[in-house]
C-alpha cells in the first residue's frame, strides 16, 4: 500500500516536472496522466475490496480514496445545484463533509459486488475541457460493462469528477438524489447534511 502511494507520488512528481516544459503552463493534464490517475485509484480500490475487512472499515477507506482521487468539492457542489450559490461557506463545508461520507458508504456497498472482478483501463481522450478515461469492468456472470471516468485539473490537481457506468452518470444521479433530499428538507442545507450523514 505504501509502495503504491509512493509510486503514485513519484508519478505525479514526474508528471508535474514534464508539464512544466511545454509552454510553461502549470499542471496541464494529458491523456496519459488521466489514464494513470484512474489506474492508480482503481488499484487502491481493489486493494480495499480484496483485503476483506468489515464493511464499516471498508466504507471509510473508500471515502479516503474518494477524497484523494476525486474532486469532492466540485462533485458535492454540482450535486447541490443552484442552491450551492446561496449557501454560505461553513454550511457548504459541513454539507461537503457529510456528502463524502455518504458517497463512501453508498458506493462502498456496491463495490462489495466487485469481489472477484477486475476493471481494465482501455484508453483516454480529451473531451470538452477535460479528459475521458475509458475502462471495462468484468464482473462474475455478467456481460462486461463500459465504465467512463471524467478527469479534470481545473481544481488545481488532477482529479476525477464523474463516473459513467453503461451510460448511467453518477453526477446526474447524485444531483437528482441530493435535489430531492433538499426539497424534502425545505431547502435547508444544514438539515440536508444531517440527513446525508445517515444516508448511503
Amino acid at each position: 500500500m505504501r509502495n503504491d502511494r509512493r509510486g503514485f507520488l513519484t508519478l505525479l512528481g514526474g508528471a508535474a516536472a514534464l508539464t512544466l516544459l511545454p509552454a510553461g503552463r502549470a499542471a496541464a493534464l494529458d491523456s496519459d496522466q488521466a489514464h494513470a490517475l484512474i489506474d492508480t485509484a482503481l488499484g487502491e480500490v481493489y486493494q480495499v475490496i480484496n483485503a476483506g475487512q468489515p464493511p464499516e472499515q471498508m466504507y471509510e477507506q473508500f471515502e479516503d480514496i474518494f477524497v484523494r482521487y476525486a474532486d469532492v468539492d466540485v462533485i458535492a457542489r454540482s450535486a447541490l445545484g443552484p442552491a450551492a450559490r446561496q449557501t454560505d461557506a461553513s454550511v457548504l463545508a459541513a454539507y461537503t463533509q457529510a456528502f463524502q461520507g455518504y458517497i463512501g458508504r453508498k458506493y462502498g456497498k456496491r463495490f462489495r459486488e466487485f469481489i472477484g472482478s477486475r476493471i481494465e483501463v482501455t484508453g483516454a481522450r480529451p473531451l470538452k475541457s477535460f479528459f475521458a478515461v475509458t475502462s471495462v469492468a468484468y464482473l462474475n456472470g455478467r456481460a462486461p460493462m463500459e465504465v467512463e471516468w471524467h478527469v479534470s485539473n481545473r481544481s488545481g490537481q488532477d482529479r476525477f469528477f464523474n463516473i459513467i457506468i453503461e451510460g448511467v452518470n453518477m453526477l446526474a444521479s447524485e444531483r437528482a438524489e441530493v435535489t430531492a433530499l433538499l426539497a424534502r428538507n425545505q431547502g435547508d442545507v444544514t438539515a440536508l447534511a444531517a440527513e446525508l450523514q445517515q444516508a448511503g
Binding site: A84, R85, F130, S152, G167, S173, R175, L181
Partner: protein, 273 residues
Amino acid sequence: MRSLYQIGLPLAFAFATLTAGCASKPVMQDGVLVNDPYEAQNRSVHNFNKSVDRNVIAPVGNLLRSGGGGEQRSDRIGARDAVINVGSNLSLPGKVVNSVLQGRPEPAIKNLFRFAVNSTIGIAGIFDPAGEGFGLPEQDTDFGETLAVWGIPEGTYVELPLIGPSTQRDAAGRVVDIFIDPLNHVLNRDERMIALGLRIGSKAGERARFGDTVDSILQDSADSYAQTRLIYLMHRRHELGETRAEIDPYADADADAGSDVGADEGVIDPYEE
C-alpha cells in the same frame, strides 16, 4: 388465429400513445433530457410497482437467492442461473429477427449460432457453452431498438405496470416483440405458456441476482421515481448509441446562472456550474 384481435388492440394502443406524445416539450433535468408529460399517472404506477417489488418480487428473489445457490461460487450451476440461462436462450430468435430488421447481419448471425449451440450442447440453454467456449455472448436488442434505428422518436417517458420504466417507443417495441418472435409461431399454446413462464422466471432470477442494486435505487432513493426515470433514460440511450449530454460542472460554475448551462451536449461539467 384468434390472436389477431390480441395483436391489433395493443398495437393500435401503442401507436396511438406513440403519436400522442409528440406534442409535449422535453426539459433538461439533472443533465438529461426528460419528456414526461404523464408524470402524475406514471408516479402512481411507480408506487404500485414499488409495492409489488417490495411485497412480492423481492421476497421471491430472496428465496431464489438462498435456495438457488447464489452464494456458492463453484462450477456447479445453481437452479437460479439455470432458469436465467434457459429464459434468455429463448429470447434469442426474437433478437435475431430484430437485428435483421435493423440491417445488422453480424449480431443476427452471432445470436443465431449462440442459439444453435446453447440449445443443443448447452442442453436447452441451461448451460452457456457459446458464451464461455465460442466467444459468442448474447447480443442484446429488441424492437424498441429497431424502431430507433428506423428513425422513430423516443416519445414520452412511461412507467408500465409490472414491467417498469419505458418510453412510448420502447413500450410499442415490447408489444411488437411478442408478435415477431419466431418461437410464438413455432410453439403450440401449451409450449408458449411454458416458454413465457421460463422467461418470466428468468427475469425474476436476474432481479434476485442484482437485488441489492435494485433495492438501493427503488427503496433507498429520496425520490425513487425520478431516480428510476433518470437511470432508465441514461442507460437506454447509451444502449441505443444515442449521444449524451456530458456534464461539465466546471463550466457550469463559470456561467453562474440557474439555467442549464453545460447541458449543451449532455456533458456534465461541474466546474462550469
